[in-house]
Amino acid sequence: MIVFLIKRLANAALVMLVVALMAFMIFRFVGDPVELMVNEQTTQAERDALRSRLGLDQPVMVQYARFVLNAMQGDFGISYRNQQSVMALIAERFPATMELVLLATLISLVVGVPLGVITAIHRGRWFSESLQFLSIIGVSLPSFVIGILLILVFAVSLGWLPAFGRGEVVQLGWWSTGLLTHSGRMAIILPAVALSFYQITLVMRLVRAEMLEVLRSDFVKFARARGVPARLIHYRHALRNCLMPVVTMTAMNIGALIAFALVTETVFQWPGMGLLFIQAVTFADIPVMAAYLVIVSFIFVALNTIVDIAYAIIDPRLRDANG
């Protein structure tokens, strides 16, 4: 197990290095941050001086090497736009995105799993078919359209929920949470729902497919023959077998949700990492972009590793192959 972990950590480090390298190669095309940083009347000579002070006139590999050396010491530099330490910025925004993503995942599981079971059990009935049809909407509508629609209905017309922002947050050490205040709880509902639509559909269809297969298996037949109540068969016995792929997919999709959260954060002005990244791209704020990409790639690798470890714990056959 230890060897496995060490191999995985080395893997993570390699992935981050490769992502950072590709990021730096792309940065040549994002534009010139100096143009956006200087005042209108700055002379060309002053712009060039600033460019060389920032190290932007160096070749890509030199900039990359400097970035990696600094990053290993935990120094990601200063944001060109905010003039704030990048590490501090990302640490400030990370809780907002994670809360949103975790709540969206929770909603998708709480809503998607029962819906999946229902559509599997009552296959062919009218409400199953219409649920399936509606779920297509969840996948096909872009998340910003869903977000704006929710805002129009719940914030503008009904006035129930706020249209933007995170509400009041409470600082718990390094983490800031909106879940402890009333305005914070109200504010997280719409963005989390908008973000979860896509995931609900995936979970529902996956559970449905798995359930249909499990319902055909022998032990279910025997349980029915034995006279076990249907509710117990479906929710106690059959569902258990379906959950593993669901958990796998959900855990790995948290990474994708962090990516989708970018759009949702822009629509709802949710002060998370995604909004920070979008603003950094618009402003050619290279330190923030580089740090964001490295951190997100780390999250992806970490999630994959946790899923693999969970598998190894659950399924003994995998344990021996790796251990």
Binding site: V30, D32, Q41, L158, G159, V281
Partner: protein, 522 residues
Amino acid sequence: MSKLRTRLLTGIAAVGLSTVAVSAETIRWGGSTDLNSLDPYSYGSTFTLSFLNHVYEGLVRYDADLEIEPALAESWEIISDSVWRFHLREGVTFHNGADFTAEDVLASLTRVSHEDSPLRGNLPAYVSAEVVDDYTIDINLNGAYPLLLNDLTNIFIFDADWLRDNGAELPTDVAAGVEGYATFNANGTGPFVIEERVPDSRTEMVVNPGWWDTPVHNVSRIEFTPIQSAATRVAALLSGEIDFVEGAPIQDLPRLQAAPNVEVIEGSSLRTIMFGFNRQPNLADGRENPFNDSRLRWAIAHAIDVALIRDRVMRGSSRVAGTLIAPQIPGYTEELDEPIPFDLERAQELIAEVGAEGLAFELSCAFDLWVNEEEICSAVISMLTRAGLAPALDIAPRAVISPKMTNGQSDMFIFGWANEPMLDSFSILLQAVHSASGNGGVFNWGGWHYPEWDDLIQRAAVELDRDTRLGYQTEVLRQAREEMLFVPLHQQPMAWAVSDRVEYVLQQADNKPRHWLTRMAD
């Protein structure tokens, strides 16, 4: 919807949704962008400076008619050609209680003119300053410079002791990788005090009861939230969550105007949008440059139907321009503002004369740096194609296209100039019309060089008599129009929207909110 709403409201009450109690004098401002920092000497974003003007002030300021009036300086005189003496206002205190004296002006001017200061170019003529006594200071310039007051409107004054105690005497140098104290903390003399700042989330200001000026506002608190998504901003205004929007999107104006609880304030801003051309001997791809022939530039001017762009692309809200500056800018004359007539036959004639039928070139634009920029450029491409040219649209995000344009690699490019903060046509003449030499032509992207114009502009730079100076400047503008240096398009529209909680807000052509003049409804 209203019946449903009534029924649901009782449900809401039961659920116990809290309505945040907003006092009558709080204005909730939904901005289209956040401010960069609390330091007014950080890189010069016009919006950041206009926001910080609520907290900090300069020696002079613009009044309701965009004329210069005394602020922290009560009076001034020109002692010799290059020395101006300012008599400062007594009895002014900073937010932390310190007194305002000439030492503070000296420390501020030193900080803004430091070689690392991003705002250094805003005070180009400055050499040094000398404290004469507690309330008198002499500013030494590098020569006669008539526009010092205009520059000083944007140079805000810090407290010298506060700068020293917090290690902020030097400007924040991004390259050094050090955070500056003034980026997150503010101490000014202005009508509002920063209470809280969470970048990209909210900035809150409360009224300064010790402000030196007589308040005409009844705003006691400003809650600023940046809401970058235009649709969300509009939704927040319609739902009553915010009271003031300074960047109402053009396409949503009819919806806002139709809403009963929202009022739209529209106007024409100072910023003029125009098209410029590459004027070097060869284009970026090596071909001989056809834009050096003024007939082709005039042909393009005649081929663009500015009125159609105003009606269809800008939905009637822009002001067609015939010259490079807005009417409020000194140096403007009505005779020069005659819009270029749309004449497709004349354009085709001229193109045939020059032999440029089917000429392939690129028009460089950014997305949304100017209002409806993408749509304007697409429309112009079709108009020029109709006239017989073969233009292609070269469009990219601002960060990508800006370096290309500033390095003179674009064949034809879109250009916007507001003449802020100087509010004088000298601004565009020195920065864009002058050749790229000496202190001028930083924005001369096409590389043009007209020696007679340079001469007139340099004469205006040191001419202290205003009428003579404006005479030189108007003459350059006249010749620039004859040469069709830039093809003028329009002055950009600006649109603010307020909720019914706001009784009065002043919108001036420089598009800067000034909430010390705002009144909330009782």
